[in-house]
Symmetry: C2
């Protein structure tokens, strides 16, 4: 069956973090419709195993493909690290993650070849950013640090807060002492803490937000495959939001992140897919 270029793009994450990627897609591909899935019944992914995250990602891809999406963005670093290859093999539509684009920008913009990466335990433990960066330039030094409390702090709404700043100082001390000049925000929640991370790291360190880079990678991919939406550019794209739990709470949070009023979020049982 040929893919309909006016079909929506599927985007998924463990919960709300992927909305920072949705925000960049809305800004940079304003004609494209989006179907988003947030796995709020099984969030977080960062402290779970590769096998479990792969099973969850497969279920979600089956759900999104059932919604006739033309491509999928895995808007979660942990799922991108653990499950991207598996879902790319299993499904025939194009699927991209959030890791490659950020790694490429970091590699091309570092001046001293010392790049830091922060993320969940799963993402950092996978070593996947280092592996991408070393392929781009074997001389690059990569220093990774897991920051398990950043996600709950962002979800608590303590984004500009002395406690968050103290936690950031502790987590980031090692990266600061290692003289990095570029830092990849390797978890889709972390852009929400950007100003605190910037304050702690100082102006001399460039922060890379893979959400923006991923939106540009998606734009390029759709162009290359003749999958760009042909709809009237004046027509409103359609945005649909699904979650596995707490639809109202998700919608409330989504409305604080997105430049768009989320009218409805639907709850589904993802374990059935």
């Amino acid at each position: 069956m040929p893919v309909d270029r006016n079909s929506p793009i599927g985007v998924f994450d463990s919960g709300i973090g992927g909305l920072t990627v949705v925000r960049e897609i809305m800004r940079n591909l304003p004609s494209e419709s989006i179907v988003y899935f947030g796995d709020t019944a099984r969030v977080p992914y960062g402290s779970k195993s590769a096998e479990t995250i792969t099973r969850y990602s497969e279920q979600i891809c089956r759900f999104l493909i059932g919604k006739q999406v033309k491509a999928v963005v895995v808007a979660c670093n942990t799922a991108s690290a653990f499950a991207l290859e598996a879902v790319q093999k299993e499904f025939s539509i194009p699927i991209i993650g959030v890791i490659r684009a950020g790694a490429e920008v970091a590699a091309s913009s570092t001046r001293n070849g010392r790049i830091g990466i922060i993320g969940t335990e799963g993402t950092i433990g996978s070593g996947i950013h280092a592996s991408f960066l070393k392929k781009l330039d074997p001389k690059i030094e990569v220093i990774g640090k897991a920051c398990p409390l950043f996600v709950p702090l962002a979800e608590e709404g303590w984004t500009h807060d002395p406690v968050t700043e103290e936690v950031a100082r502790r987590y980031l001390a090692e990266l600061k002492s290692q003289n990095i000049d570029t830092l990849i925000l390797g978890c889709t929640h972390y852009p929400l803490l950007r100003s605190t991370i910037r304050k702690v790291m100082g102006e001399g360190v460039q922060l890379v937000n893979p959400a923006y880079e991923t939106a540009l990678e998606l734009k390029q991919l759709l162009k290359e495959r003749n999958l760009e939406c042909e709809a009237d550019p004046q027509a409103e794209p359609e945005y649909r939001f699904y979650v596995s739990d707490l639809a109202d709470k998700f919608r409330h949070f989504a409305n604080t992140i997105l430049p768009y009023d989320v009218p409805l979020t639907k709850k589904i049982n993802i374990e059935r897919y």
Copy 2:
């Protein structure tokens, strides 16, 4: 089929927190064998809905009953608040939660009738402790406060830490100003933060750990129903641990909490139950 009184007791939690209950059962019912399940693939429960937590609890009870347990302890306050009645109706073996016993002790030990309760968003939002306490004594005033960062702080191992103390000061300020004399630790993780909570609340406030009270309630229940283990008191009870993810990490954590060396933890797919 008659229940075998030498069968094990089933205990479950969203993850590791329920081990504080297992510890009390081991101490107070030393002959009883235990089958523990920690839902580490879907942890945490505290920020999820009643419907989802009930579905998860039903799956886990089916798993435990398949292991021939003679009774089940729901060693998670959120699951006790949301799902206890449903599983008690659905299954024929005795099932108890962790809320009633703690509420009874708090009610009998308060002098000024002002009781605080801390827990997850789900537990506090359910109002279940207040409802139990008001039934025991309608004059009791109950002040609840959700502390969403306590679980990730305990799991990060920051149990004696200035950051945790600052978070505790902020969460507990309202309870302190309300002149409570008794505080229920309404989440099975919180006994791990007991010394920090004590430091912030001061010696004048009695902390109630429902894990201990629940072990005593279980002992009484087994006695009343003639379900106490008849094995040779010198014989070693059998302890088995199952999780839905990251068995090794769980085992490592369990070994820091339990007065017993956990030799093996087995991973199972709970979604199939």
